[in-house]
């Protein structure tokens, strides 16, 4: 854990008074915290704490798909994203801010085509460029050696762990500078979990990771900083080591030690 060393790190995502509602019902009360560049920032908390709502607001999927109303401000590299409208601009944002969902969601096509999907839409047409992207992305997701001889296999025929790494690779193929992960390992075996965590550690030099997780141990293992959400409220945010050993709030300690949630 490198948490306390980050005081001079650049702010990648600045959330200020972010409030999320679904048809008037509050999912997240105004929350303010920063996510620093080139770190793994985990968000922990029990179900219904608003952590996934927050994550899906970072690439505006909550706004477009779930009917969320978001107030406040979310700045990515000092640019406000909550005012972004229109298909073209949203697509551009989502190429910069990738997401991996809780359950592996390969599209019903080959491994190669799963990964080439995003770059193709973004305008990459040359076979050689796509080939290179596919290989690089699969290598980053620690999957290349397993599948390099069968890239035309259906993505849906892989094991759950492989499917999720394929989804990570697919996201990486767009060269994002932020990757959102929504409980990415909740359905995975320990080895696949380890490989995904390893990928995050290796890639965080270039990519900022926001990791929503139900697994506090995972947050302790990989996250530089951790935010604790509870019942739609940001309880506290700080270096992971501090959150786990000397939390400011009683509730944080209770949750981490498994007294509720």
């Amino acid at each position: 854990m490198s948490g306390d060393s980050g005081t001079y790190a650049l702010v990648k995502i600045a959330a200020k008074d972010v409030e999320i509602r679904y048809r008037g019902k509050v999912a997240l009360k105004p929350a303010t915290f920063d996510i620093r560049s080139s770190t793994i920032h985990s968000i922990i908390g029990p179900a219904g704490s608003g952590k996934t709502s927050f994550l899906r607001s970072l690439n505006l999927m909550s706004l477009e798909l779930d009917g969320a109303a978001i107030k406040g401000s979310i700045k990515v590299d000092d640019d406000e994203i909550l005012t972004i409208r229109g298909a073209e601009k949203m697509a551009k944002l989502r190429r910069r801010i990738g997401i991996v969902f809780a359950t592996p969601q390969p599209l019903p096509r080959s491994i190669y085509e799963n990964i080439a999907f995003g770059p193709r839409i973004a305008g990459t047409r040359k076979k050689a460029d796509l080939d290179a992207l596919v290989e690089e992305s699969l290598r980053s997701a620690h999957m290349w050696d397993e599948v390099k001889d069968r890239l035309d296999l259906m993505g849906t025929s892989l094991s759950g762990g492989q499917q999720q790494r394929l989804c990570l690779a697919r996201t990486l193929a767009l060269k994002p500078d932020i990757v959102l992960l929504d409980e990415p390992c909740s359905a995975l075996d320990p080895i696949s979990t380890y490989k995904i965590e390893q990928s995050m550690q290796e890639l965080k030099g270039n990519i900022t990771f926001v990791l929503v997780t139900n697994n506090t141990k995972q947050a302790a293992r990989v996250a530089d900083r951790t935010a604790f959400f509870l019942m739609g409220e940001l309880v506290e945010d700080g270096p992971t080591a501090k959150i786990f050993t000397r939390p400011n709030d009683q509730r944080t300690g209770d949750y981490i030690e498994g007294r509720f949630g």
Binding site: M90, L107, G118, I121, A122, R170, T171
Partner: protein, 286 residues
């Protein structure tokens, strides 16, 4: 707690179970039985007169001699026009209903309209086609008039099956596509439609089946010409209409049943194809 009055027991539950099973089984058998009997009835009288010559020769002397070649061609043309016109319109409506609207008053009205269209008797379609395409638009008795009339008839089938197929595609596919930088339209074209393709195709094939077997709507709009059609504005006679004419005008019973046999086999093949596709499609998402 309300207790129901005990009914007098006529049968031991175990025996009631057996009786119920037998009755239900008999009802099922009756349904399938009727189908098989019709097929048997038609094929037994007709199949003996069907040969290569029958399929490839032109009908002569009002169809009492020769084959049914021009009616096969006419059926293909009329059905083709119907499907080519109805598919894009139906698919467009289905995409709109499934992807671009929330369930509400408008979708209910559109769906009610489509369902009502499906319930309109085909002879009314024929009358409408005659008044509108044949007379008002001056297309005359032609492949075009018949095809357009059929297009309106099969539109509800195509809309409904396509909409169901689109709705059966998991929501997660759309989310994934959007999350990878696709616009909503790109997500529909590149991910949702390919996944729904077998279901959409099933609807189209069912539409083909309905077009091939349709008589009333076509006889008023495409006419009864036995000549080989050369353009969309030529009149033609479909197989169903040919069968009807041969029977009603007592031209030739063997030729009538032979035509019916070809028709029945064609429809059976079309339905088998549709259900095979449908099965493959539903299995994929369960």
């Amino acid at each position: 707690m309300i207790t129901l009055p005990r009914l007098p027991r006529l049968l031991h539950p175990r025996h009631a179970q057996v009786v119920a099973k037998a009755v239900l089984w008999a009802m099922t058998l009756a349904t399938v039985g009727v189908l098989f009997y019709i097929i048997y009835f038609v094929l037994r009288r007709g199949l003996g007169h069907v040969g290569w010559d029958f399929l490839t020769e032109m009908p002569r002397r009002s169809g009492s001699v020769g084959g049914i070649f021009s009616t096969i061609v006419g059926t293909l043309y009329v059905t083709g026009v119907g499907v080519v016109v109805a598919t894009p319109i139906g698919l467009g409506a289905a995409i709109y209903l499934a992807e671009y609207t929330r369930e509400g008053r408008l979708t209910r009205i559109v769906r009610f309209g489509a369902e009502s269209l499906a319930g309109v008797p085909s002879i009314i379609f024929g009358l409408f086609g005659f008044a509108f395409f044949v007379t008002y638009l001056r297309f005359g008795w032609s492949i075009l008039s018949g095809g357009l009339t059929l297009a309106f008839m099969i539109l509800p089938t195509i809309i409904r099956t396509s909409e169901e197929a689109l709705r059966a595609v998991p929501q997660s596919y759309r989310e994934v596509a959007l999350s990878l930088g696709a616009s909503k339209w790109q997500a529909i074209v590149r991910v949702v439609m390919p996944a729904a393709a077998p279901g959409i195709l099933t609807g189209i094939i069912l539409g083909v089946g309905r077009s091939v077997s349709e008589t009333a709507a076509v006889i008023f709009t495409s006419g009864v010409s036995l000549k080989m059609p050369h353009s969309l504005f030529d009149s033609t006679r479909t197989m169903s209409v040919h069968f009807y004419t041969l029977t009603m005008e007592s031209i030739s019973e063997p030729k009538a049943y032979a035509t019916a046999a070809v028709l029945v086999i064609t429809i059976l093949l079309i339905n088998v194809a549709a259900y095979t596709l449908m099965n493959r499609f539903t299995r994929k998402f369960r």
